[in-house]
Protein backbone atom coordinates (compact mmCIF):
# COMPACT_ATOMS: atom_id res chain seq x y z
CA UNK A 1 0.00 0.00 0.00
CA UNK A 2 1.51 3.31 -1.01
CA UNK A 3 1.38 5.59 1.99
CA UNK A 4 3.09 8.57 0.46
CA UNK A 5 0.54 9.09 -2.25
CA UNK A 6 -2.71 10.98 -1.98
CA UNK A 7 -5.80 11.16 -4.05
CA UNK A 8 -9.13 9.39 -4.18
CA UNK A 9 -9.68 5.77 -5.06
CA UNK A 10 -11.69 4.79 -8.08
CA UNK A 11 -15.15 3.33 -7.59
CA UNK A 12 -14.27 -0.07 -8.96
CA UNK A 13 -11.22 -0.48 -6.70
CA UNK A 14 -13.04 0.58 -3.54
CA UNK A 15 -14.12 -2.98 -2.55
CA UNK A 16 -10.43 -4.01 -2.52
CA UNK A 17 -9.40 -0.96 -0.52
CA UNK A 18 -12.20 -1.54 1.98
CA UNK A 19 -11.19 -5.15 2.44
CA UNK A 20 -7.61 -4.10 3.08
CA UNK A 21 -8.87 -1.54 5.56
CA UNK A 22 -10.68 -4.37 7.40
CA UNK A 23 -7.47 -6.39 7.51
CA UNK A 24 -5.57 -3.47 8.99
CA UNK A 25 -8.27 -2.83 11.60
CA UNK A 26 -8.30 -6.49 12.53
CA UNK A 27 -4.52 -6.58 12.94
CA UNK A 28 -4.55 -3.41 14.99
CA UNK A 29 -7.22 -4.72 17.36
CA UNK A 30 -5.38 -8.03 17.64
CA UNK A 31 -2.19 -6.23 18.59
CA UNK A 32 -4.04 -4.44 21.39
CA UNK A 33 -6.25 -7.32 22.62
CA UNK A 34 -3.74 -10.10 22.14
CA UNK A 35 -6.21 -12.17 20.14
CA UNK A 36 -4.88 -14.53 17.47
CA UNK A 37 -6.33 -13.38 14.15
CA UNK A 38 -3.70 -14.94 11.87
CA UNK A 39 -6.13 -17.36 10.21
CA UNK A 40 -8.75 -14.75 9.59
CA UNK A 41 -6.19 -12.26 8.24
CA UNK A 42 -4.73 -14.89 5.93
CA UNK A 43 -8.22 -15.70 4.71
CA UNK A 44 -9.05 -12.05 4.07
CA UNK A 45 -5.77 -11.48 2.28
CA UNK A 46 -6.46 -14.37 -0.06
CA UNK A 47 -9.89 -12.94 -0.61
CA UNK A 48 -8.41 -9.51 -1.40
CA UNK A 49 -6.08 -11.01 -4.00
CA UNK A 50 -8.94 -12.96 -5.55
CA UNK A 51 -11.13 -9.87 -5.61
CA UNK A 52 -8.35 -7.82 -7.15
CA UNK A 53 -7.64 -10.45 -9.80
CA UNK A 54 -11.31 -10.66 -10.56
CA UNK A 55 -11.78 -6.91 -10.95
CA UNK A 56 -8.59 -6.36 -12.90
CA UNK A 57 -9.05 -9.30 -15.25
CA UNK A 58 -12.11 -7.72 -16.84
CA UNK A 59 -11.37 -4.02 -16.94
CA UNK A 60 -13.25 -1.96 -19.49
CA UNK A 61 -11.11 0.37 -21.65
CA UNK A 62 -12.59 3.34 -19.81
CA UNK A 63 -11.46 1.87 -16.49
CA UNK A 64 -7.94 1.64 -17.91
CA UNK A 65 -8.20 5.32 -18.80
CA UNK A 66 -9.14 6.02 -15.18
CA UNK A 67 -6.21 3.93 -13.94
CA UNK A 68 -3.83 5.65 -16.34
CA UNK A 69 -4.99 8.98 -14.90
CA UNK A 70 -5.07 7.76 -11.29
CA UNK A 71 -4.10 10.46 -8.81
CA UNK A 72 -1.83 7.98 -7.06
CA UNK A 73 -0.17 6.63 -10.19
CA UNK A 74 3.64 6.91 -10.19
CA UNK A 75 4.76 10.01 -12.07
CA UNK A 76 7.92 10.32 -14.13
CA UNK A 77 9.86 11.65 -11.13
CA UNK A 78 8.51 8.80 -8.94
CA UNK A 79 9.86 6.32 -11.46
CA UNK A 80 13.16 8.11 -12.01
CA UNK A 81 13.80 8.12 -8.26
CA UNK A 82 13.23 4.38 -8.04
CA UNK A 83 14.90 3.23 -11.26
CA UNK A 84 18.11 5.22 -11.55
CA UNK A 85 21.04 5.42 -9.14
CA UNK A 86 21.76 9.01 -10.04
CA UNK A 87 19.71 11.88 -11.41
CA UNK A 88 20.94 15.35 -12.30
CA UNK A 89 17.87 17.38 -13.37
CA UNK A 90 18.36 19.83 -16.24
CA UNK A 91 16.21 22.78 -17.15
CA UNK A 92 15.21 25.10 -19.95
CA UNK A 93 15.02 25.26 -23.72
CA UNK A 94 17.57 28.13 -23.91
CA UNK A 95 15.04 30.17 -25.86
CA UNK A 96 11.99 30.99 -23.79
CA UNK A 97 11.71 29.33 -20.37
CA UNK A 98 11.78 26.08 -18.43
CA UNK A 99 8.57 24.10 -18.89
CA UNK A 100 7.74 22.28 -15.64
CA UNK A 101 5.47 19.87 -17.55
CA UNK A 102 8.58 18.12 -18.84
CA UNK A 103 11.45 16.95 -16.65
CA UNK A 104 14.72 15.41 -17.62
CA UNK A 105 18.34 14.98 -16.77
CA UNK A 106 21.48 12.93 -16.60
CA UNK A 107 21.02 9.58 -14.94
CA UNK A 108 22.64 6.22 -14.40
CA UNK A 109 20.89 2.94 -15.04
CA UNK A 110 22.79 0.18 -13.21
CA UNK A 111 25.88 2.30 -13.63
CA UNK A 112 25.37 3.08 -17.34
CA UNK A 113 25.12 6.82 -18.11
CA UNK A 114 21.79 7.56 -19.81
CA UNK A 115 19.57 10.54 -20.42
CA UNK A 116 16.07 10.29 -19.01
CA UNK A 117 13.16 12.63 -19.61
CA UNK A 118 9.40 12.61 -19.51
CA UNK A 119 6.13 14.41 -18.93
CA UNK A 120 5.56 15.36 -15.33
CA UNK A 121 2.11 15.52 -13.78
CA UNK A 122 1.41 16.87 -10.32
CA UNK A 123 0.08 14.92 -7.37
CA UNK A 124 -2.40 17.49 -6.02
CA UNK A 125 -4.06 20.66 -7.25
CA UNK A 126 -1.15 22.93 -6.46
CA UNK A 127 1.51 20.76 -8.06
CA UNK A 128 -0.77 20.01 -10.99
CA UNK A 129 -1.20 23.71 -11.66
CA UNK A 130 2.58 24.11 -11.50
CA UNK A 131 3.07 21.16 -13.86
CA UNK A 132 0.14 22.22 -16.05
CA UNK A 133 -1.27 18.70 -15.58
CA UNK A 134 1.59 17.34 -17.64
CA UNK A 135 0.55 19.31 -20.73
CA UNK A 136 3.66 20.80 -22.28
CA UNK A 137 4.11 24.01 -24.21
CA UNK A 138 6.44 24.24 -27.22
CA UNK A 139 9.33 25.16 -24.92
CA UNK A 140 8.83 21.84 -23.13
CA UNK A 141 9.25 19.86 -26.33
CA UNK A 142 12.21 22.06 -27.26
CA UNK A 143 13.80 21.40 -23.87
CA UNK A 144 13.30 17.68 -24.50
CA UNK A 145 14.95 18.02 -27.90
CA UNK A 146 17.87 19.97 -26.43
CA UNK A 147 18.47 17.22 -23.89
CA UNK A 148 18.17 14.50 -26.51
CA UNK A 149 20.74 16.11 -28.80
CA UNK A 150 22.97 16.54 -25.74
CA UNK A 151 22.75 12.80 -25.14
CA UNK A 152 23.48 12.16 -28.80
CA UNK A 153 26.58 14.33 -28.67
CA UNK A 154 27.95 12.35 -25.75
CA UNK A 155 26.74 9.01 -27.10
CA UNK A 156 24.33 8.19 -24.28
CA UNK A 157 21.13 6.20 -24.69
CA UNK A 158 17.86 8.06 -24.19
CA UNK A 159 14.92 6.90 -22.10
CA UNK A 160 11.59 8.73 -22.21
CA UNK A 161 8.52 8.35 -19.99
CA UNK A 162 5.23 9.37 -21.55
CA UNK A 163 2.35 10.54 -19.38
CA UNK A 164 0.32 13.47 -20.71
CA UNK A 165 -3.27 14.30 -21.56
CA UNK A 166 -1.82 16.02 -24.65
CA UNK A 167 0.01 19.12 -25.79
CA UNK A 168 -1.42 22.25 -24.17
CA UNK A 169 -4.03 23.96 -26.39
CA UNK A 170 -3.54 27.60 -25.43
CA UNK A 171 -2.78 30.98 -26.98
CA UNK A 172 0.91 31.12 -26.09
CA UNK A 173 1.43 27.53 -27.15
CA UNK A 174 0.01 28.25 -30.60
CA UNK A 175 1.92 31.53 -30.95
CA UNK A 176 5.19 29.85 -30.14
CA UNK A 177 4.59 27.00 -32.59
CA UNK A 178 3.14 24.02 -30.73
CA UNK A 179 2.75 22.09 -33.98
CA UNK A 180 6.25 22.91 -35.16
CA UNK A 181 7.78 21.94 -31.82
CA UNK A 182 6.08 18.52 -31.90
CA UNK A 183 6.84 17.94 -35.58
CA UNK A 184 10.48 18.89 -35.09
CA UNK A 185 10.84 16.34 -32.29
CA UNK A 186 9.35 13.56 -34.42
CA UNK A 187 11.84 14.19 -37.19
CA UNK A 188 14.79 14.66 -34.86
CA UNK A 189 14.02 11.54 -32.79
CA UNK A 190 13.74 9.49 -35.96
CA UNK A 191 17.31 10.48 -36.84
CA UNK A 192 19.04 10.21 -33.43
CA UNK A 193 22.32 8.32 -33.48
CA UNK A 194 21.87 6.78 -30.05
CA UNK A 195 19.51 4.07 -28.77
CA UNK A 196 16.13 5.32 -27.63
CA UNK A 197 13.50 3.62 -25.48
CA UNK A 198 10.08 5.12 -24.78
CA UNK A 199 7.68 3.90 -22.10
CA UNK A 200 4.07 5.07 -21.94
CA UNK A 201 3.60 5.01 -18.18
CA UNK A 202 0.14 6.59 -17.91
CA UNK A 203 -1.71 8.68 -20.45
CA UNK A 204 -0.40 8.61 -23.99
CA UNK A 205 -2.30 11.62 -25.20
CA UNK A 206 -1.94 12.35 -28.90
CA UNK A 207 0.83 14.41 -30.51
CA UNK A 208 1.95 15.69 -27.14
CA UNK A 209 2.79 12.10 -26.19
CA UNK A 210 4.33 11.18 -29.54
CA UNK A 211 6.65 14.20 -29.30
CA UNK A 212 8.63 12.11 -26.79
CA UNK A 213 7.68 8.78 -28.31
CA UNK A 214 9.60 8.12 -31.53
CA UNK A 215 12.02 5.44 -30.39
CA UNK A 216 13.77 2.16 -31.16
CA UNK A 217 11.63 0.41 -28.57
CA UNK A 218 8.22 1.49 -27.32
CA UNK A 219 6.60 -0.10 -24.29
CA UNK A 220 3.41 0.53 -22.39
CA UNK A 221 2.61 -0.19 -18.79
CA UNK A 222 -0.24 -2.67 -18.54
CA UNK A 223 -2.84 -0.04 -17.60
CA UNK A 224 -1.44 2.80 -19.68
CA UNK A 225 -3.44 4.09 -22.65
CA UNK A 226 -2.32 5.57 -25.97
CA UNK A 227 -4.60 7.25 -28.50
CA UNK A 228 -4.72 9.91 -31.19
CA UNK A 229 -7.10 12.10 -29.19
CA UNK A 230 -8.50 11.96 -25.65
CA UNK A 231 -11.66 9.86 -25.30
CA UNK A 232 -13.48 13.05 -24.29
CA UNK A 233 -12.24 14.88 -27.38
CA UNK A 234 -13.13 11.98 -29.66
CA UNK A 235 -16.60 11.70 -28.09
CA UNK A 236 -17.18 15.45 -28.41
CA UNK A 237 -16.43 15.34 -32.13
CA UNK A 238 -17.83 12.00 -33.27
CA UNK A 239 -20.64 11.54 -30.75
CA UNK A 240 -21.15 15.29 -30.21
CA UNK A 241 -21.19 14.52 -26.50
CA UNK A 242 -18.07 14.44 -24.29
CA UNK A 243 -19.98 12.26 -21.81
CA UNK A 244 -19.72 9.43 -24.33
CA UNK A 245 -15.99 9.20 -23.54
CA UNK A 246 -16.30 5.58 -22.31
CA UNK A 247 -17.73 4.63 -25.73
CA UNK A 248 -14.95 6.50 -27.49
CA UNK A 249 -12.34 4.81 -25.28
CA UNK A 250 -13.69 1.45 -26.37
CA UNK A 251 -13.87 2.37 -30.06
CA UNK A 252 -10.33 3.76 -30.18
CA UNK A 253 -8.73 0.55 -28.85
CA UNK A 254 -6.40 2.53 -26.66
CA UNK A 255 -5.17 -0.16 -24.26
CA UNK A 256 -1.67 -1.60 -24.13
CA UNK A 257 -3.02 -4.97 -25.25
CA UNK A 258 -4.58 -3.34 -28.33
CA UNK A 259 -1.42 -1.44 -29.26
CA UNK A 260 0.66 -4.60 -28.87
CA UNK A 261 -1.75 -6.69 -30.94
CA UNK A 262 -1.51 -4.07 -33.68
CA UNK A 263 2.31 -4.21 -33.41
CA UNK A 264 2.49 -0.49 -32.76
CA UNK A 265 4.45 -1.10 -29.55
CA UNK A 266 7.16 -3.61 -28.70
CA UNK A 267 5.90 -4.89 -25.38
CA UNK A 268 3.76 -4.52 -22.29
CA UNK A 269 5.25 -3.99 -18.84
CA UNK A 270 3.16 -5.83 -16.26
CA UNK A 271 1.90 -3.87 -13.28
CA UNK A 272 1.68 -5.01 -9.65
CA UNK A 273 -1.64 -6.46 -8.50
CA UNK A 274 -4.21 -3.68 -8.33
CA UNK A 275 -2.23 -1.35 -10.59
CA UNK A 276 1.06 0.59 -10.60
CA UNK A 277 -0.32 3.10 -8.10
CA UNK A 278 -0.62 0.39 -5.42
CA UNK A 279 3.10 -0.27 -5.38
CA UNK A 280 5.40 2.29 -6.95
CA UNK A 281 8.53 0.30 -6.13
CA UNK A 282 7.28 -2.85 -7.84
CA UNK A 283 6.12 -0.87 -10.87
CA UNK A 284 9.50 0.85 -11.11
CA UNK A 285 11.30 -2.47 -10.83
CA UNK A 286 9.29 -3.90 -13.73
CA UNK A 287 10.04 -0.84 -15.89
CA UNK A 288 13.70 -1.04 -14.98
CA UNK A 289 13.93 -4.68 -16.01
CA UNK A 290 12.37 -3.84 -19.37
CA UNK A 291 14.75 -0.92 -19.90
CA UNK A 292 17.79 -3.08 -19.15
CA UNK A 293 16.59 -5.76 -21.57
CA UNK A 294 15.97 -3.26 -24.34
CA UNK A 295 19.23 -1.39 -23.88
CA UNK A 296 21.26 -4.59 -23.79
CA UNK A 297 20.02 -5.31 -27.32
CA UNK A 298 20.20 -1.76 -28.64
CA UNK A 299 23.69 -0.76 -27.49
CA UNK A 300 25.07 -3.73 -29.41
CA UNK A 301 23.93 -2.20 -32.72
CA UNK A 302 26.03 0.21 -34.73
CA UNK A 303 24.58 3.64 -35.55
CA UNK A 304 23.72 2.81 -39.13
CA UNK A 305 21.84 -0.37 -38.29
CA UNK A 306 20.10 1.34 -35.41
CA UNK A 307 18.81 4.15 -37.60
CA UNK A 308 17.89 1.91 -40.52
CA UNK A 309 15.89 -0.38 -38.27
CA UNK A 310 14.15 2.57 -36.67
CA UNK A 311 13.08 3.92 -40.06
CA UNK A 312 11.95 0.45 -41.17
CA UNK A 313 9.96 0.07 -37.97
CA UNK A 314 8.02 3.28 -38.61
CA UNK A 315 7.59 2.61 -42.32
CA UNK A 316 5.86 -0.64 -41.39
CA UNK A 317 3.29 1.13 -39.22
CA UNK A 318 -0.14 1.40 -40.75
CA UNK A 319 -2.89 -0.78 -42.17
CA UNK A 320 -3.97 -0.20 -45.78
CA UNK A 321 -4.55 -2.11 -48.97
CA UNK A 322 -3.74 -1.31 -52.56
CA UNK A 323 -6.26 -1.66 -55.36
CA UNK A 324 -4.87 -2.27 -58.81
Amino acid sequence: MPETTKGPWLDFERPIVELEERIRTLEASAAVGGVDVADEVAHLRRKAVRLSDDIFSKLEPWQRVQLARHGRRPTTLDLIERIFTQFVPLHGDRQFRDDPAIVGGLARLEGRPVLVLGHQKGRDTRSNVQRNFGMAHPEGYRKALRLMTLAERFERPIITFIDTPGAYPGLGAEERGQAEAIAHNLRAMAALRVPTVAVVTGEGGSGGALALGVADRIYMLENAVYSVISPEGCAAILWRDAAKAPDAAKAMRLTAADAFRHTLIDGIVGEPVGGAHRDHAAAALAVKAQLLDALAELVALDQKTLRERRLAKYLAMGEWTERR
Binding site: E174, G177, V214, M252, L311, Y314, L315
Partner: protein, 292 residues
Protein backbone atom coordinates in the same frame (compact mmCIF):
# COMPACT_ATOMS: atom_id res chain seq x y z
CA UNK B 1 -6.51 12.84 -65.29
CA UNK B 2 -9.19 10.18 -65.55
CA UNK B 3 -12.84 10.80 -66.41
CA UNK B 4 -13.61 9.49 -62.94
CA UNK B 5 -11.84 12.36 -61.27
CA UNK B 6 -13.49 14.91 -63.46
CA UNK B 7 -16.90 13.43 -62.82
CA UNK B 8 -16.16 13.44 -59.13
CA UNK B 9 -15.12 17.07 -59.26
CA UNK B 10 -18.46 17.92 -60.74
CA UNK B 11 -20.32 16.12 -57.99
CA UNK B 12 -18.23 17.71 -55.33
CA UNK B 13 -18.57 21.28 -56.52
CA UNK B 14 -22.33 20.82 -56.73
CA UNK B 15 -22.37 19.63 -53.15
CA UNK B 16 -20.26 22.58 -52.03
CA UNK B 17 -22.46 25.17 -53.68
CA UNK B 18 -25.66 24.18 -51.94
CA UNK B 19 -26.37 27.74 -50.79
CA UNK B 20 -25.89 29.23 -54.22
CA UNK B 21 -29.10 29.37 -56.24
CA UNK B 22 -27.61 28.58 -59.60
CA UNK B 23 -24.09 27.32 -59.92
CA UNK B 24 -23.06 30.21 -62.13
CA UNK B 25 -22.51 32.72 -59.38
CA UNK B 26 -20.77 32.58 -56.06
CA UNK B 27 -20.66 35.07 -53.22
CA UNK B 28 -17.19 36.01 -51.95
CA UNK B 29 -16.96 35.18 -48.21
CA UNK B 30 -14.42 38.00 -47.90
CA UNK B 31 -16.23 41.02 -49.35
CA UNK B 32 -19.68 39.74 -50.29
CA UNK B 33 -19.17 40.52 -53.95
CA UNK B 34 -21.11 38.24 -56.29
CA UNK B 35 -18.59 36.52 -58.50
CA UNK B 36 -19.10 34.87 -61.85
CA UNK B 37 -18.03 31.31 -61.58
CA UNK B 38 -16.24 31.14 -64.92
CA UNK B 39 -14.24 34.16 -63.85
CA UNK B 40 -13.40 32.46 -60.52
CA UNK B 41 -12.19 29.39 -62.38
CA UNK B 42 -9.82 31.54 -64.40
CA UNK B 43 -8.51 33.34 -61.31
CA UNK B 44 -7.94 30.08 -59.36
CA UNK B 45 -10.76 31.03 -56.99
CA UNK B 46 -9.20 34.24 -55.83
CA UNK B 47 -11.78 37.03 -55.53
CA UNK B 48 -11.14 39.67 -58.15
CA UNK B 49 -12.56 42.36 -55.89
CA UNK B 50 -10.79 41.77 -52.56
CA UNK B 51 -8.22 39.02 -53.14
CA UNK B 52 -9.95 36.58 -50.79
CA UNK B 53 -8.80 33.00 -51.38
CA UNK B 54 -11.80 30.73 -51.80
CA UNK B 55 -11.29 26.96 -51.47
CA UNK B 56 -9.62 25.43 -54.49
CA UNK B 57 -10.33 21.79 -55.26
CA UNK B 58 -7.40 19.46 -54.55
CA UNK B 59 -6.81 18.40 -58.17
CA UNK B 60 -6.78 22.03 -59.27
CA UNK B 61 -3.56 22.55 -57.30
CA UNK B 62 -1.93 20.11 -59.69
CA UNK B 63 -3.01 22.33 -62.61
CA UNK B 64 -1.98 25.41 -60.66
CA UNK B 65 1.53 24.23 -59.79
CA UNK B 66 2.65 21.79 -62.46
CA UNK B 67 3.44 22.18 -66.14
CA UNK B 68 0.72 21.06 -68.53
CA UNK B 69 0.73 17.31 -69.25
CA UNK B 70 3.62 16.63 -66.88
CA UNK B 71 1.53 14.95 -64.16
CA UNK B 72 1.79 11.26 -63.46
CA UNK B 73 -0.29 10.06 -60.52
CA UNK B 74 1.31 7.49 -58.22
CA UNK B 75 -0.08 5.12 -55.59
CA UNK B 76 -3.68 5.99 -56.52
CA UNK B 77 -4.83 2.54 -55.40
CA UNK B 78 -3.61 2.82 -51.81
CA UNK B 79 -6.74 2.81 -49.73
CA UNK B 80 -7.84 2.82 -46.11
CA UNK B 81 -9.00 -0.24 -44.26
CA UNK B 82 -10.65 -0.39 -40.85
CA UNK B 83 -7.98 -1.79 -38.53
CA UNK B 84 -9.88 -1.03 -35.32
CA UNK B 85 -13.40 -2.03 -36.38
CA UNK B 86 -14.31 1.54 -35.50
CA UNK B 87 -17.87 2.63 -35.05
CA UNK B 88 -19.40 5.82 -33.69
CA UNK B 89 -22.81 6.86 -34.99
CA UNK B 90 -21.71 5.22 -38.24
CA UNK B 91 -19.25 2.52 -39.16
CA UNK B 92 -15.90 3.74 -40.44
CA UNK B 93 -16.15 1.60 -43.62
CA UNK B 94 -19.47 3.34 -44.38
CA UNK B 95 -17.86 6.76 -43.95
CA UNK B 96 -15.08 5.65 -46.28
CA UNK B 97 -17.58 4.44 -48.86
CA UNK B 98 -19.38 7.78 -48.86
CA UNK B 99 -16.10 9.69 -49.13
CA UNK B 100 -14.93 7.52 -52.02
CA UNK B 101 -18.20 8.02 -53.84
CA UNK B 102 -18.15 11.79 -53.29
CA UNK B 103 -14.55 12.32 -54.36
CA UNK B 104 -13.86 9.45 -56.74
CA UNK B 105 -10.64 8.89 -54.81
CA UNK B 106 -9.40 6.10 -52.57
CA UNK B 107 -8.19 8.37 -49.80
CA UNK B 108 -7.56 11.94 -48.73
CA UNK B 109 -4.37 12.67 -50.65
CA UNK B 110 -3.34 12.74 -54.30
CA UNK B 111 0.31 11.90 -54.94
CA UNK B 112 2.43 11.90 -58.03
CA UNK B 113 5.25 13.26 -60.12
CA UNK B 114 5.41 16.16 -62.46
CA UNK B 115 7.38 19.21 -63.51
CA UNK B 116 7.20 22.64 -62.02
CA UNK B 117 8.52 25.18 -64.50
CA UNK B 118 10.62 22.37 -65.95
CA UNK B 119 11.91 21.10 -62.61
CA UNK B 120 11.03 17.49 -61.72
CA UNK B 121 9.10 17.41 -58.45
CA UNK B 122 7.07 14.99 -56.36
CA UNK B 123 3.79 16.53 -55.31
CA UNK B 124 1.13 15.57 -52.77
CA UNK B 125 -2.13 17.46 -52.38
CA UNK B 126 -4.43 16.71 -49.48
CA UNK B 127 -8.12 16.51 -50.36
CA UNK B 128 -10.28 18.12 -47.70
CA UNK B 129 -13.39 16.74 -49.38
CA UNK B 130 -12.33 13.24 -48.31
CA UNK B 131 -13.13 13.03 -44.60
CA UNK B 132 -11.68 16.47 -43.92
CA UNK B 133 -8.32 15.58 -45.43
CA UNK B 134 -7.65 13.48 -42.35
CA UNK B 135 -4.38 11.64 -41.88
CA UNK B 136 -4.80 7.89 -41.72
CA UNK B 137 -2.66 4.89 -42.67
CA UNK B 138 -3.34 5.26 -46.40
CA UNK B 139 -2.28 8.92 -46.49
CA UNK B 140 0.75 8.16 -44.32
CA UNK B 141 1.79 5.37 -46.68
CA UNK B 142 1.29 7.47 -49.82
CA UNK B 143 3.22 10.44 -48.46
CA UNK B 144 6.00 8.22 -47.12
CA UNK B 145 6.32 6.50 -50.52
CA UNK B 146 6.27 9.79 -52.37
CA UNK B 147 9.01 11.20 -50.14
CA UNK B 148 11.13 8.04 -50.39
CA UNK B 149 10.76 8.26 -54.16
CA UNK B 150 11.79 11.92 -54.03
CA UNK B 151 14.80 10.85 -51.99
CA UNK B 152 15.93 8.00 -54.26
CA UNK B 153 15.18 9.87 -57.51
CA UNK B 154 16.51 13.14 -56.09
CA UNK B 155 13.47 15.22 -56.92
CA UNK B 156 12.22 18.05 -54.74
CA UNK B 157 9.06 17.33 -52.79
CA UNK B 158 6.06 19.60 -52.26
CA UNK B 159 3.08 18.87 -50.04
CA UNK B 160 -0.05 21.01 -50.14
CA UNK B 161 -1.79 20.47 -46.80
CA UNK B 162 -5.45 21.04 -46.12
CA UNK B 163 -6.70 18.94 -43.26
CA UNK B 164 -8.61 18.84 -40.00
CA UNK B 165 -5.86 16.62 -38.61
CA UNK B 166 -5.58 12.99 -37.61
CA UNK B 167 -8.18 10.41 -38.59
CA UNK B 168 -9.75 9.49 -35.28
CA UNK B 169 -11.22 6.28 -36.68
CA UNK B 170 -7.69 4.88 -36.93
CA UNK B 171 -6.55 6.24 -33.56
CA UNK B 172 -3.01 5.05 -32.77
CA UNK B 173 -2.42 3.95 -36.38
CA UNK B 174 -3.21 7.50 -37.39
CA UNK B 175 -0.94 9.01 -34.73
CA UNK B 176 1.95 6.87 -35.90
CA UNK B 177 1.61 8.25 -39.44
CA UNK B 178 2.94 11.51 -38.02
CA UNK B 179 6.08 9.69 -36.91
CA UNK B 180 6.27 7.71 -40.16
CA UNK B 181 6.16 10.76 -42.43
CA UNK B 182 8.51 12.72 -40.16
CA UNK B 183 10.99 9.82 -40.17
CA UNK B 184 11.14 9.88 -43.98
CA UNK B 185 11.56 13.65 -43.91
CA UNK B 186 14.59 13.18 -41.65
CA UNK B 187 16.16 11.13 -44.45
CA UNK B 188 15.25 13.68 -47.13
CA UNK B 189 16.83 16.40 -45.02
CA UNK B 190 20.05 14.46 -44.57
CA UNK B 191 20.25 13.89 -48.30
CA UNK B 192 19.78 17.52 -49.19
CA UNK B 193 16.56 16.96 -51.12
CA UNK B 194 14.31 20.01 -50.71
CA UNK B 195 10.88 19.70 -49.14
CA UNK B 196 8.42 22.59 -49.33
CA UNK B 197 5.24 22.63 -47.28
CA UNK B 198 2.30 24.76 -48.32
CA UNK B 199 -0.54 25.17 -45.83
CA UNK B 200 -3.93 26.16 -47.21
CA UNK B 201 -7.18 26.73 -45.36
CA UNK B 202 -7.51 24.89 -43.00
CA UNK B 203 -4.45 22.98 -41.75
CA UNK B 204 -4.71 21.58 -38.23
CA UNK B 205 -3.81 18.90 -35.73
CA UNK B 206 -1.67 15.94 -36.59
CA UNK B 207 -1.00 17.18 -40.10
CA UNK B 208 0.37 20.51 -38.86
CA UNK B 209 2.27 18.71 -36.09
CA UNK B 210 4.08 16.53 -38.62
CA UNK B 211 4.93 17.10 -42.29
CA UNK B 212 3.11 20.43 -42.73
CA UNK B 213 5.53 22.19 -40.36
CA UNK B 214 8.63 20.31 -41.48
CA UNK B 215 9.36 21.98 -44.77
CA UNK B 216 12.78 23.40 -45.51
CA UNK B 217 10.40 26.27 -46.08
CA UNK B 218 6.86 26.49 -44.78
CA UNK B 219 4.48 28.62 -46.85
CA UNK B 220 0.87 29.61 -46.33
CA UNK B 221 -1.93 30.94 -48.48
CA UNK B 222 -3.42 34.31 -47.50
CA UNK B 223 -6.08 33.96 -44.82
CA UNK B 224 -5.46 30.24 -44.31
CA UNK B 225 -6.20 29.04 -40.77
CA UNK B 226 -3.26 27.03 -39.50
CA UNK B 227 -2.70 25.60 -36.05
CA UNK B 228 -2.30 22.65 -33.75
CA UNK B 229 -5.44 22.88 -31.61
CA UNK B 230 -8.66 24.11 -33.17
CA UNK B 231 -10.08 27.52 -32.18
CA UNK B 232 -13.02 25.96 -30.33
CA UNK B 233 -10.78 23.83 -28.12
CA UNK B 234 -8.53 26.78 -27.32
CA UNK B 235 -11.53 28.96 -26.47
CA UNK B 236 -12.76 26.28 -24.09
CA UNK B 237 -9.33 25.95 -22.50
CA UNK B 238 -8.71 29.63 -21.90
CA UNK B 239 -12.36 30.46 -21.23
CA UNK B 240 -12.31 33.55 -23.40
CA UNK B 241 -12.25 34.91 -26.90
CA UNK B 242 -9.37 34.60 -29.31
CA UNK B 243 -7.48 37.63 -30.61
CA UNK B 244 -8.42 38.98 -34.04
CA UNK B 245 -6.76 37.00 -36.80
CA UNK B 246 -5.48 34.31 -34.40
CA UNK B 247 -4.07 31.30 -36.30
CA UNK B 248 -4.35 33.00 -39.69
CA UNK B 249 -1.39 32.58 -42.03
CA UNK B 250 -0.58 36.27 -41.49
CA UNK B 251 -0.61 35.70 -37.72
CA UNK B 252 1.76 32.76 -38.09
CA UNK B 253 4.01 34.82 -40.32
CA UNK B 254 4.17 37.54 -37.67
CA UNK B 255 4.91 34.97 -34.95
CA UNK B 256 7.73 33.49 -37.00
CA UNK B 257 6.06 30.19 -37.89
CA UNK B 258 5.91 30.63 -41.68
CA UNK B 259 8.51 31.78 -44.17
CA UNK B 260 6.04 33.51 -46.45
CA UNK B 261 2.39 34.03 -47.15
CA UNK B 262 2.07 33.62 -50.89
CA UNK B 263 -0.86 34.74 -53.02
CA UNK B 264 -2.23 31.72 -54.91
CA UNK B 265 -1.59 33.10 -58.38
CA UNK B 266 2.07 33.71 -57.49
CA UNK B 267 2.63 30.25 -55.98
CA UNK B 268 4.09 28.54 -59.01
CA UNK B 269 6.53 31.35 -59.80
CA UNK B 270 7.54 31.59 -56.14
CA UNK B 271 8.11 27.84 -55.87
CA UNK B 272 10.12 27.86 -59.07
CA UNK B 273 12.37 30.62 -57.72
CA UNK B 274 12.84 28.79 -54.42
CA UNK B 275 13.50 25.39 -55.96
CA UNK B 276 16.02 26.83 -58.42
CA UNK B 277 17.87 28.40 -55.50
CA UNK B 278 17.88 25.01 -53.74
CA UNK B 279 18.74 22.84 -56.72
CA UNK B 280 20.83 24.79 -59.22
CA UNK B 281 24.28 23.24 -59.78
CA UNK B 282 23.26 20.37 -57.52
CA UNK B 283 22.11 16.87 -58.39
CA UNK B 284 18.51 17.48 -57.34
CA UNK B 285 15.49 18.17 -59.55
CA UNK B 286 17.62 18.29 -62.67
CA UNK B 287 15.44 19.48 -65.55
CA UNK B 288 14.74 16.74 -68.07
CA UNK B 289 12.21 14.02 -68.76
CA UNK B 290 10.16 12.99 -65.74
CA UNK B 291 9.89 9.33 -66.55
CA UNK B 292 13.12 7.45 -66.46
Amino acid sequence: MSWLNRAARGIQSLAKQKDVPDNLWQKCPGCGEILYRRELERSWYVCGACGFHLPLDAVRYIDLLLDADSWEELYAGVTSVDPLGFRDSRRYPDRLRVARRQTGREDAVITGRGRLDGLPVNLAVLDFAFMGGSLGSAMGEKIARLLLDASSQRRSAIVVSRSGGARMQESLFSLMQMAKTAAVLARLREEGVPFISLCVNPTYGGVTASFAMLGDLNLGEPGAMIGFAGPRVIKQTIGGDLPEGFQSAEFLLEKGQLDQVVERRRLKATLATILRWFCEDRDVSIPGPVRE
